[in-house]
Amino acid sequence: MFENNIIEDFPAFFEVNFKAINKNYFKVISLNTLLTLLIILSIVTIFLYIKNQDYSIYFIVHSGLIFLFSLIQLYAYIGFSKRKYLIRQQDISYKKGVLISSTTTVPFNRIQHIEISEGYFSRQFKLASLNIYTAGANGKDLVIRGFSKEKALEIKEIITKSING
């Protein structure tokens, strides 16, 4: 019964062009993957060294790990293009995911507080994440990574203004 009148109010929300996040954030993802790979590789190497394994084992294990991480990186690459956000007058939305895709919307008038956080790599590229908290029961609130620092501050400003005014 209500299906008809909704479409008028929200002209094809799901077809609206969501914006992509900052391209530089992919570098951060790549660096994170690389760092994790290096840590795991060194742990494995030490382990194999203690166990006095043959060089062929080193080769198999290491190439296997590198292959696995290449796959992870490929998945992250495909996933990166799916990370998109949309800010409207009253709410903020975020889309992501390859195998499991999701769209989340948080109305501004339900936001409890907003945090801006930066990791080490993100700071090198002047990037920041936006953490948005609501009173949701599961605490599964919205985290959008990969904004430029100014953009994040700007969005925070927009939302804060909207809440208080």
Binding site: D9, I100, P107, A135
Partner: protein, 485 residues
């Protein structure tokens, strides 16, 4: 207003509170530190044993008494500028201030000792993430009433006094017979587990007892069917008695009253609980029943409240309602519950497959354990388990539906039990649409609706319908001026 009922200056609790606090502290100490007495029990000499026990106990009891008195003296509170202000702490001092409009609920409680000496415990529940729940252990009855009046007034005392004095409509009051009916139809399997857990926590640490149990268990499983059924005949009445005792303790003399904008729930035998729930703070309700209860026409209603980070606010559960009473409760909370013109949505058939997959893994895991257990007969349990799980899938799919009207979402779910959830759109906190690649091919998705008390998932909804629902939820939330808490 009586001078003694004035809260503008810092006030202490009732002096009788020392007794309540003392018992609580002693009890808490014994619960946390009982293990320090173990070495004493190793002393063989009886006279020496009693001597040491006596000295140890008296030192401890005096220490706790001094501590209790200090805590009592330092625990003061006042009401100022629409804030409840609490000062507490002997060594580590703290000052808590709670704005009236952040107060979620005020509950009275009386445990056995509190009833005996005639004081009331007042719990102030807040929804804010940063302020913890406040529990004043001992207030005189008048003071407790007064505090509630002031705090629930939301800036105006007169208004509340009016509300309290105007006629309260009693929606429900339960007799012993109702409670017996309720306990007969409980989920006794769940109580069995509770009972086992209780016995376990009592004796679990004792190794000898554990060994005994193990031997008995072994015997128990190897008994013939006749013997097992005899045991069953004894176990079932025990379980019924057990749930009867629990229900009497928790829900004795349950009454539910309604006035202007709040529901009042009173219940309990030794620990009397008195909850006042503002209607606007209710995030959604859940009405549930099981096959036995349905046969007798009994339902229970859960009023979901905001849960805060620090203290999980327990949802208010009202048991033993009949059909008319559930309708009365529903109507006090929601304005528009007319679903006669609404379309009934069912999940896509793919949902059955998803359920099937989950149960399949469960069966795999169970059989994995059977395989590695010594008893090869266990495999035959599959003959019971598999049909049962299939029945659950069938019931789960059959009972699941969603309906929408202008203001309220109605969701049906359940397997053996049946529950119906009602939720007003504007109570939404955030909303998510989730789709796996497999769902994408079928043009369906899951809709996850998060409120401040509960997350509701509508599985395998048609994508276009889901998008409409999604938009409608956002629209309603963004255009609503009503407070969501």
């Amino acid at each position: 207003m009586d001078n003694s009922l004035d809260f503008s200056a810092f006030t202490r609790q009732s002096p009788k509170g020392i007794i309540v606090l003392y018992f609580q502290n002693v009890f808490k100490f014994l619960k946390d530190w009982w293990s320090i007495f173990i070495p004493v029990f190793l002393i063989k000499n009886t006279a020496e044993f009693f001597e040491i026990i006596l000295i140890l106990l008296s030192v401890l009891l005096i220490f706790i008494l001094i501590r209790t008195i200090l805590i009592y003296l330092k625990y003061t509170f006042k009401i100022e500028n629409n804030h409840f202000i609490l000062k507490q702490g002997v060594l580590r001092k703290s000052l808590t201030s709670i704005a009236f409009d952040k107060i979620q609920n005020i509950n009275y409680k009386q445990n056995f000792i509190q009833q005996l000496i005639g004081v009331t415990q007042v719990d102030i529940e807040t929804a804010g993430a940063k302020t913890a729940e406040i529990s004043i252990k001992a207030l005189s009855k008048e003071k407790a009433e007064m505090i509630k009046l002031i705090l629930m007034a939301n800036r105006s005392i007169d208004q509340t006094e009016n509300t309290i004095n105007t006629d309260k409509k009693t929606i429900l009051s339960l007799s012993i017979a109702d409670l017996i009916k309720e306990s007969l139809t409980e989920n006794h399997l769940k109580n069995l587990l509770l009972l086992v857990a209780f016995i376990w926590s009592l004796f679990g640490r004792n190794k000898e007892f554990l060994e005994k149990i193990k031997v008995e268990n072994y015997d128990f499983f190897s008994k013939t069917i006749i013997e097992v059924s005899i045991v069953f005949i004894f176990v079932l009445p025990t379980l019924i008695l057990f749930s009867f005792v629990i229900i009497i303790l928790k829900h004795y003399d349950l009454t539910l009253k309604f006035n202007k904008n709040a529901l009042e729930i009173k219940q309990g035998l030794f620990t009397k609980k008195h909850q006042v729930l503002k209607i606007e703070k209710v995030q959604g309700i859940l009405i549930s029943t099981n096959p036995f209860k349905q046969f007798l026409g009994i339902f229970s209603v859960v009023l979901n409240q905001v849960s805060s980070d620090n203290a999980k606010v327990s949802p208010a559960k009202i048991i033993g309602c009949n059909k008319q009473q559930t309708i009365a409760i529903k109507n006090t909370i929601f304005e528009n519950l007319n679903f006669s013109k609404s379309k009934v949505y069912k999940p896509h058939n793919y949902f059955i497959f998803q359920l099937f997959l989950k149960k399949f893994f469960l069966i795999l895991i169970i059989n994995f354990f059977f395989l590695f257990s010594q008893n090869s007969y266990l495999i035959y349990l599959n003959l019971v388990i598999i049909p049962f799980l299939m029945l659950l899938i069938y019931k789960n799919f059959k009972k699941r539906f969603f309906k929408f009207n202008k203001n309220v979402l109605k969701v049906g779910e359940g397997q053996i039990a049946t529950s119906t959830i009602y939720l007003e759109y504007f109570k939404l906190q955030n909303i998510q649409l989730k789709q796996t690649v497999f769902q994408k091919r079928k043009n369906i998705c899951n809709l996850i609706i998060q409120t401040a008390s509960k997350t509701i998932e509508l599985p395998c909804v048609n994508i276009y319908e889901a998008q409409n629902i999604y938009n409608y939820f956002i629209l309603k939330t963004e255009t609503s001026n009503k407070p969501w808490m």
